[in-house]
Symmetry: C2
Subunit: 158 residues, 2 copies
């Protein structure tokens, strides 16, 4: 019997913890199961608006904005590359993978993406998307636990 596809969405960022969350997801939710699983890798870039003013309130030149936008895209690529290295490491070579890059406030983008893409399970690290942002805006993981409709797995690096 063909089973319904299950989507496991993993929110990744630059942190070691999110890479650990990815390998936890593969070991525990995807590899060695007879289920029809799809792994959705989600990376969220900060909104462009963050870059248009510096801390002193000066407006950056267009060149600077371009440089930062470029940096942000490079970062997204580098995080996806690291994620690839992790799932390639698993024997289970036929993992069905989708990569998604969102832009905006991480907690909203993650919850919206989980809903829109129909994630059955959302997995993330406990400290994702930066300590400073966490202190200012509250924890992304706290918000997702409360607001995502699907089960949420919060993974801590051991």
């Amino acid at each position: 019997m063909e089973k319904r596809e299950r989507k496991i969405m993993v929110a990744i960022d630059e942190s070691e913890e999110s890479m650990y969350a990815l390998s936890w997801s593969i070991s525990n939710l995807i590899a060695d199961t007879n289920n029809n699983n799809k792994l959705v890798l989600l990376y969220v870039k900060p909104p462009s608006a963050v870059y248009s003013l510096d801390s002193a309130g000066y407006i950056f030149s267009n060149d600077t904005i371009d440089t930062l936008e470029n940096y942000s895209s490079q970062l997204a690529k580098s995080v996806m590359k690291r994620a690839e290295a992790i799932y390639r490491n698993f024997d289970d070579t036929d993992i069905n993978i989708e990569k998604v890059v969102g832009t905006g406030d991480a907690k909203n983008v993650i919850c919206n993406a989980a809903k829109k893409l129909g994630a059955d399970t959302l997995v993330m690290g406990s400290h994702g998307y930066g300590f400073i942002k966490r202190a200012l805006l509250g924890s992304v993981s706290d918000y997702c636990v409360k607001n995502a409709k699907c089960p949420v797995v919060i993974v801590k690096q051991p």
Copy 2:
């Protein structure tokens, strides 16, 4: 190759949501995997001290305390029975199960049990252990997400 046993601890209570969390765990973490998984069902009874004073501060008679203790044990049994009905419903009949009943403040008992019994994953509903207690003492699930050392899955009833 014999794989290391993985312990999936599910904290259950009287709520529908915790029964849903149990069936989610079996479908997503246990059934149809080739892993060597053990399901640990944890139920936490409130501490006896809760019953020794009523809301007006009167001390209950020993008879009343006995009745309440008895009620609390009956409740534990009834929750375990409901859980049994759920896992028996799965085809995967050879699920390795351990039942644990703890006593005390749910959030501490759950985190301690996860640590002592070496849970690899802790699963629970988002509203476990009562709305009133939640309002007074904060959410059990919030506490466990922050304090348990292992990955924590928070399941909401759809």
